[in-house]
Symmetry: C2
């Protein structure tokens, strides 16, 4: 999507034809800075220090990290060292391991002199596949937004609420939950986005607000507490969020607080959509609340808030008493009964075993 | 309740017998500092700059502001000037106007030389009445906590979730929602409080966490997004919140985000209690969502976060992009159907017209 008026992906090969550019997302929304990765170490550090985040972008960065390693040394030993290094950069990221497996499969059978070029080809293809999946999600979601706009009689603005960042910054381009919004905006629907700030890490206030603003999509940042009130007063036409993990019956694990918005949507008859690339479906799971373990992160993420000081520098302030403990659950699970529909690259379906199997019949057990 | 191990009210007459002490709540939880008010101007500034906040404490501060004015000049003109000055310090505070009316009634009929002493008596009585009301709320709520503790088989800890600050800092002592918690703690029930940080003003992270910590009540600060997840996993035994305004049928307007917690409580069969002094009941209103106007405050409260820098100084950071607008709704309305019971100074009742009239039969229309 656009940055400073120019179409931009979240990761790219530089003009030199081999080094890799990424956006330093730790400095958003206050500073737009890019980083140039020239070694596998650079790529691993970009992942572990969260210069890049979001499952698809982490995978893409790891894939290019393999390319950078092979450029220096294409031996079996160097390949394995790079895969181990990159694989440990963010141990819980499923997509990271998947991308590394893809790269290994693409290059390991080849003689070393052919590996570098093959790796760059596979990494570029992974990126293009991600863009294609997200664009397809966008097209299917766009139909839902067009229908909602028609239900409004095409008057006023179409108010969409989203939580966290499931935008292009988390992917290679388009995003998942935001892809339909970008397409609707580009198609001339006057969409306006309520952006949950998404405590404790504020991905909404920083990343979602920034990327929507750069692309020119009207939006308003709100506290996570506000969505229910807006829905009670008819100020939300629909919700769209992403998901980190979806069960075979359509329960979705997403950023903490998603469940509360889904409850409010249900209580106010507001459609609640979840956008997802199909690789995030875990076909081995059914009951998300019982079966999906929820990561607990450092309480400091809650207690310490980082932003821009009046000097322009970034600074961090502590908001809690020194002796008060904090708990920091990263995700929650929204039961399928609260999800109006799932938006996948293959189309829209009910959040149910039957709905998912209608789009993914190959998953049916014989 | 206790501060630094010493029983403390949120407002008091100093040892000199006339000047008034308050806690500077703008510096909590980072610095515990008190302020000495010696004029009506001081009292008005303490209210308008939010050194003191919370309806009962604002009322008490205004009442003592009248005392301080009369000490300098007990004429009719000075009394009216003080009432006007203090009344405009926080125009939307209903309790403020009520306290000023009480003071006027107590002193205006008296000859000027008798007014100062009468004002101090009435102000002290207003404070004692607030303490008595809150203690009664605490006793009635304590019975609910004792019952919940018995349901748990008196094992582990009793987990209570609260939102915002309805503690002793918002009142003269005890608080409303926190009064039952303090009494339960003092009675030996191992109560543990999940403290919603309560964005955007963070009254939970700053004030509730601080006052619970000072009194020794175990607690954990959480993002407002977390409560639903905790309830899904049986980690909340009950919720207690305060309210700014209650309708005759039991709808409650409270800090933004309360509604979302009430939805989660309902979805997980967790009791959701609202504690209130009966003066907050507006008997003229029925449908809170439709009838209660919700204040919108400056978006800067959301975008700018204040806390303690690593230097120990207080600092403010901006968390949003410079061009992103923010909306800041201060309250929401929780419909009575989501409220398990109301806890008042007269007892516990259903959140319904019948429930409220059973405790306040004098309100029944003949």
């Amino acid at each position: 999507m656009n940055v400073l008026g120019k179409p931009t992906r979240s990761i790219w090969v530089e003009a030199d034809g081999w080094s890799v550019g990424v956006i330093d997302q730790t400095r958003l929304p206050h500073h737009f800075a890019t980083a140039r990765l020239t070694t596998a170490d650079d790529a691993a550090r970009a992942i572990s220090s969260m210069l890049v985040r979001g499952a698809p972008l982490i995978g893409a960065t790891a894939a290019y990290g393999v390319c950078l390693a092979l450029r220096q040394d294409a031996s079996d030993g160097a390949l394995e060292r790079a895969l181990a290094l990159l694989g440990s950069a963010r141990p819980t990221a499923v997509n990271l391991r998947w991308a590394l497996d893809e790269l290994r499969r693409a290059v390991a059978p080849l003689p070393p002199p052919e590996r570098e070029a093959a790796a760059y080809r596979r990494a570029a293809a992974l990126c293009d596949e991600d863009v294609a999946i997200n664009h397809a999600i966008g097209e299917h979601g766009l139909a839902l937004l067009q229908a909602a706009w028609a239900r409004r009689g095409r008057e006023g603005r179409l108010n969409v609420l989203t939580h966290c960042n499931a935008g292009w910054l988390a992917t290679v381009d388009w995003g998942t939950a935001l892809a339909p919004i970008y397409l609707a905006h580009d198609a001339g629907i006057p969409v306006h986005v309520w952006v949950d700030e998404t405590r404790p890490r504020n991905q909404g206030a920083s990343l979602t607000a920034w990327e929507l603003g750069q692309h020119g999509v009207p939006h308003t940042v709100i506290a996570d507490n506000v969505g229910g009130h807006l829905m009670q007063h008819g100020l939300v036409d629909l919700c769209i969020v992403g998901t980190d993990r979806t069960t075979a019956r359509g329960d979705v694990a997403n950023k903490i607080g998603t469940y509360l918005k889904a409850l409010a949507a249900k209580d106010n008859e507001v459609p609640f959509y979840v956008a997802l690339p199909s690789p995030t479906i875990d076909w081995t799971l059914q009951d998300g609340v019982r079966e999906i373990p929820i990561e607990q992160r450092d309480g400091a993420e809650l207690c310490d808030v980082t932003g821009r000081l009046s000097s322009g520098e970034l600074g961090t302030v502590r908001i809690t008493p020194p002796d008060s403990p904090a708990a920091n659950y990263a995700f929650d699970v929204t039961p399928a009964r609260l999800v109006t529909a799932l938006i996948t690259e293959r189309g829209v379906c009910a959040a149910s075993p039957e709905g998912l199997l209608s789009l993914f019949p190959e998953r049916a057990v014989a």
